[in-house]
């Protein structure tokens, strides 16, 4: 279940800007192979920018992004995906006018559309998607769309799954279900970085956590410790 020590993803003193605005300020964090880490923070704390920096959608002005033993700071998103990252984006970002199956095929774009094993694996995890595979993704309910988004990310056989606000816009029962699945993915040996506002639910399944406030780390530690931490509440109130 827990980390085996080798760092899989490392951000090393990363500074990211949007135009003149300094978003991430000297951010460093580590996700080890097989680990489940959550990155907490309120609105505009830089959580989404962190994920975009990890994926190479925005490039840091200074600092380095290392993945699986290689400096990928200057590499395009497609290279990083090919090396084993996958993302479940905020608001899911499914390809609405395409079928569930086609969405999964896009998730496996770099592995040629996926093998039978890949489909068996995600359909075992989400049996409903097999039934709905020929339905247009845009016509599914929010909870079903969340399943498609997770299945789509798993199609590329990732070493690291990035989750951007998985609880956003979902009913409490579906949030619980989402986190159960995140845990299952984690137990299957995939490292997960969950970015969340919802501290309690994500810390309850995570190994470790980081707390971000206006682009800086204000707290880090074992999830169990953070759950008890007085400062965590302060970090939220003080945003």
């Amino acid at each position: 279940m827990s980390a085996n020590g080798a760092p899989l993803l490392e951000l090393d003193a990363v500074d990211t800007f949007y135009g003149p605005i300094h978003i991430l300020q000297g951010l460093s964090l580590v996700v080890r192979a097989g680990e489940l880490v959550c990155l907490l923070g309120g609105n505009a704390s830089g959580k989404s920018t962190t994920l975009k920096t990890v994926l190479g959608i925005v490039r840091p002005r200074s600092g380095a992004v290392r993945f699986d033993g290689e400096d990928v700071t200057g590499r395009p998103t497609s290279y990083r995906i090919a090396k084993g990252m996958a993302i479940v984006p905020e608001n899911r970002r499914l390809f609405g006018p395409m079928t569930v199956l086609e969405n999964l095929q896009m998730g496996a774009y770099l592995t040629g559309g996926g093998t039978k094993e890949d489909y068996d694996r995600v359909y075992t995890l989400f049996p409903l998607l097999h039934e709905r595979r020929h339905q247009l993704a845009g016509t599914l309910s929010g909870g079903e769309q969340q399943m498609v988004a997770m299945a789509r990310a798993l199609m590329s056989r990732p070493k690291l799954m990035l989750m951007d606000e998985p609880s956003m816009g979902l009913a409490p029962i579906l949030v619980e279900r989402s986190f159960e699945i995140i845990q299952q993915v984690h137990e299957a040996g995939v490292a997960v970085l969950v970015v969340e506002q919802n501290a309690n639910v994500s810390l309850s399944i995570a190994d470790r956590g980081y707390v971000l406030s206006t682009g800086r780390l204000v707290l880090e530690g074992k999830a169990a410790d953070l759950l008890q931490d007085e400062n965590l509440r302060k970090a939220y109130l003080g945003r």
Partner: protein, 325 residues
């Protein structure tokens, strides 16, 4: 020239079935051509939100390539290869040539601006620039006079003489245009639903950033889109030459504008929409000419299109811009 006839006042020949069917066939033929052209505008706009105004000139170059292949193989009256092969070679060369031209235009006129994150107005200007540039180059190198495809000579004239099926009258040339378009549409549909690169094109068209998050190399998808869209324009250029019998440096301007309109009316970004928009305009034009006046054809067509857009602002197949949650 006739003065404007009142609606409802028709010549007796205009009230026959066969006259109606003539207009229908002519409209479908013209509409096929507009639809093929509209696809290029629509696919590129879908992904890059760029109005590729050079698309009409890609069509023009395609029509010249078809013409030069025709001349090189002996012209219409004395072709050195069988007519079917001649026509296939004309289409093949024009499609490949135009496809490559589209990719080159993207590489040198649009991509640098995209990389520099230029505002959206900038590539519009470079598109207009490429458009004028190609028109001028064609005038200089090919001459401003009309180049005659002279399709009446092909196969001893049999391609342009009509067949009669009941009261339906259709020429081989019209059949070639309509069937070639249907075939190309079918191939395109297979491409975008059955191949990974084609699906990636649809994905990128819906959400470019989400597509790149899947590891899709957006630049490759853009190159593919320009090649396919431009190849279809090249095919349209040859059809135009065969059907309307000639080509000239400004031939792409008018067709380009109409096809662009077709793309918007069909719902820009939508593949079926482009085709439906093209056929709609082709039919409107043919019936406007057939039953009213050719001088007023564009007035009539565009008035109807304005009404369509007032009722459905995002076009027939267009989806309203999604709201951000």
């Amino acid at each position: 020239m006739h003065s404007l006839q009142l609606v409802g006042y028709f010549q007796s020949y205009q009230l026959t079935w066969s006259y109606f069917l003539d207009q229908l066939v002519a409209g479908l033929t013209l509409g096929s051509l507009y639809g093929l052209m509209a696809l290029g505008y629509s696919m590129v706009y879908g992904i890059l939100k760029l109005l590729n105004f050079a698309h009409g000139e890609v069509f023009m170059i395609g029509s010249y390539i078809g013409y030069f292949v025709l001349v090189a193989l002996g012209g219409t009256t004395n072709p050195t290869v069988p007519v079917a092969l001649l026509i296939i070679l004309m289409f093949g060369a024009a499609m490949i040539g135009s496809g490559v031209l589209g990719v080159v235009i993207e590489r040198f006129a649009y991509r640098p601006l995209r990389v520099a994150k230029a505002p959206r107005i900038a590539p519009l200007i470079s598109a207009l620039g490429v458009s004028f540039c190609l028109q001028q180059l064609a005038s200089i190198f090919f001459g401003t006079e009309y180049k005659q495809y002279n399709p009446f000579g092909l196969s001893g004239g049999t391609l342009t003489t009509p067949w009669h099926i009941g009261s339906l009258e259709v020429s081989w040339m019209q059949m070639i245009v309509i069937l070639t378009t249907a075939f190309l549409m079918l191939v395109l549909w297979q491409l975008v639903t059955r191949t990974q690169i084609g699906r990636a094109m649809r994905a990128a068209s819906f959400d470019l950033e989400a597509a790149s998050m899947m590891g899709i190399d957006v630049d490759r998808v853009v190159v593919f889109t320009f090649f396919v869209g431009s190849a279809l324009a090249g095919a349209g250029g040859v059809m135009n030459g065969l059907y309307l019998s000639n080509t000239f440096p400004l031939v792409g301007f008018n067709v380009g504008l109409i096809a662009f309109t077709a793309a918007v009316v069909g719902g820009i970004g939508s593949i079926p929409g482009a085709m439906v928009g093209g056929v709609t305009i082709g039919l409107l034009k043919a019936f406007a000419i057939g039953y009213w006046s050719s001088a007023y054809q564009d007035v009539i067509v565009f008035c109807i299109l304005i009404v369509v857009l007032l009722i459905r602002p995002s076009g027939i197949f267009g989806v309203p811009a999604p709201q951000k949650v």
